[in-house]
Subunit: 346 residues, 3 copies
């Protein structure tokens, strides 16, 4: 795609300062951008790069207009980072392959595939599956019985979607993701595990993104629910009966244990562990690598974790962590003693 600065300004509501006819083909970093490239200033720490940029155009806040080099067209936005996202969507639209089912795809006669959908090589689409308009299913995907995939969604290569899972519209499911495998449920019979059939499903809303090799298990009895606008990064584990609220974003390597409910608009960092059967309120931020062992009833930012130290020093502090409770008691005792000795003096 190529657009002029004028077209971009009109389509995205930017205020244009400079030449409206500069042709833009690509987004690039302030330091690397050159002719035909659009850049942006999202953080003031890159201001020196703005002053030296050779980009043909830049998206900036009004306050930075004076720092835009002459010869560079400025596009003023209230939020340049958001402006960059929207401009990049226009300049770099996702390639949508042509409609049609590849001859090597194995599609059950009882599956319904919209004529506008694309099903690539070596896919397997089972009976009862319904693939909506403009859906793209890339090579090697397996779509099991009775799966529903809403209009405009895209499955990267080698995605697996199991029986009865429902995926909304405009979702993006990256390679290797597994949606609808059995939840981890067993009863114990004298030391042996007895499998509990996992008969719930997975319901995924609209505009959801699911990262590479992320796993979302089907519910034990009821469904696992991923609401509209949720964004999940790579290698995340979502256990059975978890419910994630609208527009919550979760970074990679996070694990969420069974039956936990996460609110709307939460921001959960990478490598976080969230225990099962708890509730996290709307608007909660959990910083990276935290361990959430109980419900979080109020919005706010929460953290756990210990600081990085040279290993030799850490070894000494590490052992002391086993003595914290003892320290607390000894400290209390000293305080009492000292208070008492003060009393004696008086």
């Amino acid at each position: 795609m190529a657009l002029t600065t004028g077209q971009l300004a009109r389509q995205l509501g930017f205020e244009l300062h400079g030449d409206a006819d500069v042709m833009l083909r690509r987004i690039n970093d302030l330091r690397k951008a050159g002719e035909g490239e659009l850049s942006f200033l999202a953080s003031p720490k890159f201001l020196p790069y703005l002053r030296d940029t050779r980009a043909s155009a830049v998206i900036v806040r009004e306050a930075q207009l004076a720092d835009v080099p002459s010869g560079t067209t400025a596009l003023v936005a209230r939020d340049p980072y958001l402006g960059y996202a929207r401009a990049a969507q226009l300049l770099h639209p996702r390639r949508r392959p042509a409609p049609g089912v590849h001859q090597t795809a194995v599609v059950d006669a009882r599956a319904e595939i919209d004529p506008s959908a694309h099903v690539a090589a070596n896919c397997a689409i089972a009976a009862g599956a319904r693939i909506g308009a403009d859906v793209v299913v890339l090579a090697g995907c397996v779509v099991a019985e009775d799966v529903v995939i809403g209009a405009g969604s895209l499955l990267g290569p080698n995605v697996t979607v199991l029986e009865g899972v429902t995926i909304g519209e405009r979702c993006l499911i990256h390679s290797g993701a597994v949606i609808g495998a059995d939840g981890f449920g067993f009863a114990n019979d004298g030391g042996e595990w007895v499998k509990i059939p996992q008969i719930g499903g997975v319901v995924i809303g609209n505009d959801v993104e699911i990262g590479a090799n992320t796993t979302i298990d089907r519910g034990a009895v009821e469904d696992t629910v991923i609401s509209d606008g949720v964004k999940l990064d790579n290698l995340i584990q979502v256990a059975h009966n978890v419910r994630i609220g609208r527009n919550t974003a979760i970074a990679g390597c996070t694990g969420i244990a069974g039956s936990t409910t996460i609110g709307e608009r939460c921001a959960i960092g990478g490598g976080v562990g969230i225990t099962g059967h708890i509730e996290i309120a709307d608007g909660v931020t959990i910083t990276g690598r935290s361990f959430v062992s109980q419900s979080v009833p109020e919005a706010g930012s929460y953290s756990t974790g210990t600081p990085l130290q040279p290993t030799a020093k850490w070894r000494r502090n590490f052992l002391r962590m086993r003595q914290l409770d003892e320290f607390a008691k000894r400290l209390k005792k000293l305080e009492t003693k000292l208070a008492h000795s003060d009393d004696e003096k008086c």
Copy 2:
């Protein structure tokens, strides 16, 4: 499947209180269950839901008989959760697709596939592989040379089983699992890594369940061993030469480093990290997100981890963790000083 309350009681040894001819088609939650549905009370905290349930039948302990609504048939079990598991297995048996090899599956002429086995679309089964009776290999699986899969086991879609791996009977391997990739072994030659060929295998016992996208590496020289009845959740890493004892269950996102031995009947939570070359005794529980940095020689429950705090408060405490050893020494000094000043007084 549909069964009457009487049939269920007979087959599973429940004591029947009520109508023996109620037809049951499905398990459901106490709150949602209706006609033709079976529910259960496993935890006393759901007792109010039992009293209001509209389930056609419920599995309860004898003590809860009085709380079962009239019109609902009660099935008394010593362990209603276990009863639920067994009843769900009867009402919701896993669908076993018909025997046969799909025409798009690529099966080497030197592979042996039992006529009762099912091999789905786009699978690749290499020379020397032996697929036992009633095995199900779903779409997109790759079964490499000389792999053995025992009777009744099931591979979900897109599973990879590498050369020489042995899988026992009645195992359930979920989508995206990779069994038998190379262990992570290198020697260092002046800063460069020299690969150590990983020539061991992976031996998986009977009745093992392996979660989606879980990885189990082959041994460096000897085998990696997963014993009978082990249950592994999703996104678990089992490194080379690990040995996991019978009926141990491990929740998602846990990583086990090389050559570690885990005993029988252990329960290991999600997101746990277990260092290499250690031994964990039989009957050990490790709570979620713990870090196991040394051997655990005795049964019991073990934990690590720091509590979730508001981020601002955490930042202050976080820095203090670097001073613990110093605190310990200062505390000791104060105690000595105070003891000394007491002496002086005497």
Copy 3:
């Protein structure tokens, strides 16, 4: 492969003590090795096993020559572990399947596949892909548009390599790895996430190994870079714009957030979490399960984490971690008070 002790000594520069004509077919453990098997002593703690070994030959340091049983040929190396790696490479070379493209592989007419390359069953190779000499692409792989794979590299089954990714020579990419999925980048528009197209690539150097189900995301604008000789274990997440320096090795389940730079020759343990936008110097060791929340500007070994404790004891210490800052202040107060009361006495 079979080689005599004499051939092995010549090829790898070992000093031969004993029979040069012993035929060796396999590496084995000191305790298990028998006729035709080669073993090694890397750590003095296994010295008793050396004295009792029935291996036909062993690789040892000169100092251990006296401990080699008579009847066993000794091969003296300065670093027996490295010697073992090199000997194992000779005795157990990776099987390279015959050149050719399997008839079920779907190869776009605009892809270039070297005649010496092997492309196995059910692969999909897209337009513009270039597969170099002696490359092996095992079953079920998807290689997207314009991917370049250098000579001698191997993709295990079910690997996914997305648009425009470049992989160097002699790389080993294990099953289920996903290279080049979208980075996790969104701008926020009044609570809703707006996707930022990820237009960077992934550039992987030579001699890189990437573990099973590991994910490496494409850059947002510039490339994600994995340098020559890097070794990544299983289930690792490498976010967009990460740069990993030469010969760095990272163990399983580690997550690296976006735009972080890791130096050369680093050794990063399993289950480590590394925050985004930081720099880790060359030669840094991070022990397993650590959390790296800020840049590490100097070589050395670094750690975080809390020790494993019986759960009951941990619960008490756990709560105390929330009081550390308060403890520090109370301790300081006591010290001041006591110093003051000393002053009074004087």
